[in-house]
């Protein structure tokens, strides 16, 4: 009898709640019982509340159990989970779980399904179809297919990727670079991490396609140091790809590790950092597309942007553009986080409303209390009140509602949240992470914290609220990049939508 294949995720989130112990326990228990099992450490399916999610390969497809603790293993064996039989932790066929079934996965299609570091698995599940096809196309055809797909930068700015590629393709340079921005620092986001841990070859393939499209022979992946699992995964995948000659002198990649600076997620700071400098923002122009890394024409894109390229080239830009709404084409891997019952990765076409995502898919809060505020787009994103939850998740619709989609992170807060504290935190975070180049950001953020503290202490409240608003205007208009320029979003949205938290009600109630 051949060994039963069992999948236990190696994804950092799964490991953080005991996946390694579960895998070890399954191995030990199988040995004790004299049963043959093969454990595959897959990526995460993205149903985080079910982690560690254990799957067993059966004739009908993978059968899921979760959340599994090491202590559950002996009862799982007793219940014959190796045959896919029933157990209190049974979830049935994985593909039938509604959270997964209703998604439109283009980028995340292999994640959780394959062994992330197996090239054979990657090929068997459609990997390299894009790169193989790109090799038969002229560079201009690759670029125009990306343009036709409508793909926009998934890092947050939403700039059309094809236009960026076209600019670099037509720029002159002895050397050109592809740089992947994997400095995923926004709270509430983890899609880049899941790609790097769950399907690293897809990112390598996407970068190789970009290299062919613009004539670049070298690429860097800049990964934040807070992601040790993703760093290891990408380094191993690159070594495997080199041995298999997927990467060679015609296009090669290297990993650069960040050093704990949020600002290095801003593209020009990131380039400075790779060059061995302080991660200070550069003024644009010149655009990185003209003068980027080491002064050479550079494509710099987020992980999800580059990871979308293989599907687009394999299936055609037109097929990708069929998903989505308005000027937001394709799919977005949304990340549902914070105080939500069913947190996870949900990839779907643009156009779902926040309400559908949070309630229909996310099941409301984990605490069971009412949803009071939802922050979309990381620490520089606006806080949405209940009344705005019908806003669609699309670049323009979010903008129209006074927010931004950013990198697609959605953080849910229940009614215990104090929005004045959240506004203060936004200013505090900006003060910690400001690169210092622009005065409104460097000094304004600290003044913002002080002024909000005065409001909290009920010192000249109305005057100080006006001062905070004035400060926000200066930061918005007087900062080069999004850190100083968008910190006002969470602050002003808190003031506008939750004014009661800035009134002296808390002390009055306490007295």
């Amino acid at each position: 009898m051949s060994a039963v294949r069992i999948f236990v995720p190696c994804d950092a989130a799964a490991v953080s709640v005991g996946a390694d112990e579960v895998a070890a326990s399954i191995t030990a228990e199988a040995k004790r019982r004299g049963l043959a099992v093969e454990i595959i450490r897959n990526g995460s399916r993205g149903m985080l509340w079910l982690e560690p999610l254990v799957e067993v390969a059966t004739a009908k497809g993978p059968v899921a159990y979760g959340p599994v603790r090491a202590a559950d293993i002996s009862t799982l064996f007793d219940a014959n989970f190796l045959g896919g039989d029933s157990h209190p932790l049974s979830l049935g066929l994985t593909e039938e779980i509604s959270f997964l079934k209703n998604q439109q996965r283009l980028t995340f299609t292999r994640i959780g399904v394959t062994d992330p570091l197996s090239l054979d698995d990657y090929r068997a599940h459609g990997g390299f179809a894009g790169l193989d096809k790109a090799r038969t196309l002229k560079p201009v055809e690759i670029v125009e297919d990306i343009v036709a797909s409508g793909l926009r930068g998934r890092g947050g700015a939403g700039f059309p990727a094809g236009i960026k590629w076209r600019t670099v393709a037509s720029a002159q340079g002895s050397q050109k670079f592809i740089v992947c921005n994997a400095d995923e620092g926004d709270s509430g986001t983890f899609a880049d991490r899941m790609v790097m841990e769950g399907d690293p070859f897809m990112l390598i393939e996407g970068m190789a396609i970009a290299g062919l499209a613009v004539g670049a022979t070298r690429g860097f992946i800049y990964i934040r140091s807070e992601y040790p699992h993703a760093i290891r995964s990408m380094q191993r995948a690159i070594a495997i790809a080199r041995r298999a000659r997927v990467l060679d002198d015609s296009f090669d990649l290297d990993v650069r590790i960040g050093a704990g600076a949020y600002i290095c997620g801003e593209e020009t700071s990131l380039l400075e950092s790779i060059e061995g400098k302080r991660g200070q923002v550069r003024a644009k122009p010149p655009l990185p597309a003209h003068r980027g890394l080491f002064g050479k024409p550079t494509v710099i894109n987020n992980v999800l942007t580059l990871a979308a390229a293989p599907w687009i080239i394999a299936n055609g830009g037109k097929a990708y553009a069929e998903y989505g709404m308005g000027r937001s084409r394709g799919t977005m891997p949304l990340q549902l986080a914070g105080n939500v019952k069913y947190p996870g990765l949900y990839e779907t076409a643009f156009g779902m409303s926040l309400r559908e995502l949070i309630f229909d898919i996310g099941g409301g809060t984990a605490s069971g209390r009412p949803v009071r505020a939802v922050q979309v787009g990381g620490p520089l994103g606006a806080y949405f009140p209940e009344s705005l939850l019908d806003t669609k998740l699309d670049y323009e619709a979010m903008l129209a509602a006074g927010g931004m989609l950013g990198h697609g992170g959605i953080v849910v807060f229940d009614d215990s949240v104090d929005m004045m504290k959240q506004a203060r935190f936004a200013m505090h975070f900006c003060a910690i992470e400001s690169c210092g180049k622009c005065t409104p950001c460097r000094i304004g953020s600290t003044r913002g914290v002080e002024t909000l503290d005065k409001i909290a202490a009920d010192i000249e409240r109305e005057k100080n609220v006006a001062l905070v608003r004035d400060l926000c205007t200066v930061m918005t208009d007087g900062s080069l990049c999004a850190l100083g320029g968008l910190t006002p979003l969470p602050v002003l949205s808190a003031l506008d939508h939750f004014p009661e938290d800035f009134a002296p009600r808390l002390r009055a109630a306490a007295e």
């Binding site: 989130a13 807070e226 050093a259 704990g260 302080r278 200070q280 939500v340 690169c435």
Partner: protein, 162 residues
């Protein structure tokens, strides 16, 4: 005292950069990997190595110091035996990370961000570990922890101080 080791690490990092980008690549491009290698080797950026780093990369000491002071990861002082990085960003806030920070301060006299190197454990703040669905999250040395609670914190502190 550490000069030979620094020169060895610098040659390695510069050689790796030039092998990847070609002989014309500016040596300064190796600065971050070099500082990371030094911190890995010695546990911190030993101040008396800065002059050697500057010499090896042909940049000024001011540039090296500027980089060291800019990035939160680099330390100019010895670290504790263990480090706990507690996530203080929004998603973990929504799941109670601030209560955990207060618990560390009140119960264990470990105020995040104010660690002393002579203690077994220093607690630092971190802003997002990418575990935002399973918060509160923390990184204990190289181990990522999800759904952190006071009990688990107490066990970590007790273990680290042994």
């Amino acid at each position: 005292m550490n000069t030979d080791k620094i020169i060895e690490l610098a040659s390695r990092e510069v050689a790796a950069l030039k092998a990847f980008l070609g002989p014309d690549a500016p040596a300064q491009g190796a600065l971050l990997p070099l500082l990371q290698a030094i911190q890995h080797e010695f546990g911190y950026i030993v101040p008396d190595t800065i002059a050697t780093v500057a010499d090896e990369l042909n940049i000024s000491q001011a540039e090296v110091r500027g980089v060291v002071s800019f990035y939160h990861d680099f330390r100019l002082e010895r670290a504790s035996r263990h480090t706990l990085k507690l996530c203080r960003a929004e998603a973990c806030q929504s799941l109670g990370s601030e209560k955990l920070a207060a618990h560390l301060t009140s119960r264990h006299q470990l105020e995040p961000g104010h660690g002393k190197p002579d203690e077994g454990l220093s607690v630092e703040n971190v802003y997002c570990l990418g575990n935002c669905g399973l918060g509160p999250a923390a990184l204990f040395d190289e181990t990522l922890i999800g759904r952190l609670d006071e009990q688990r914190l107490d066990a970590i502190v007790a273990g680290a101080r042994k």
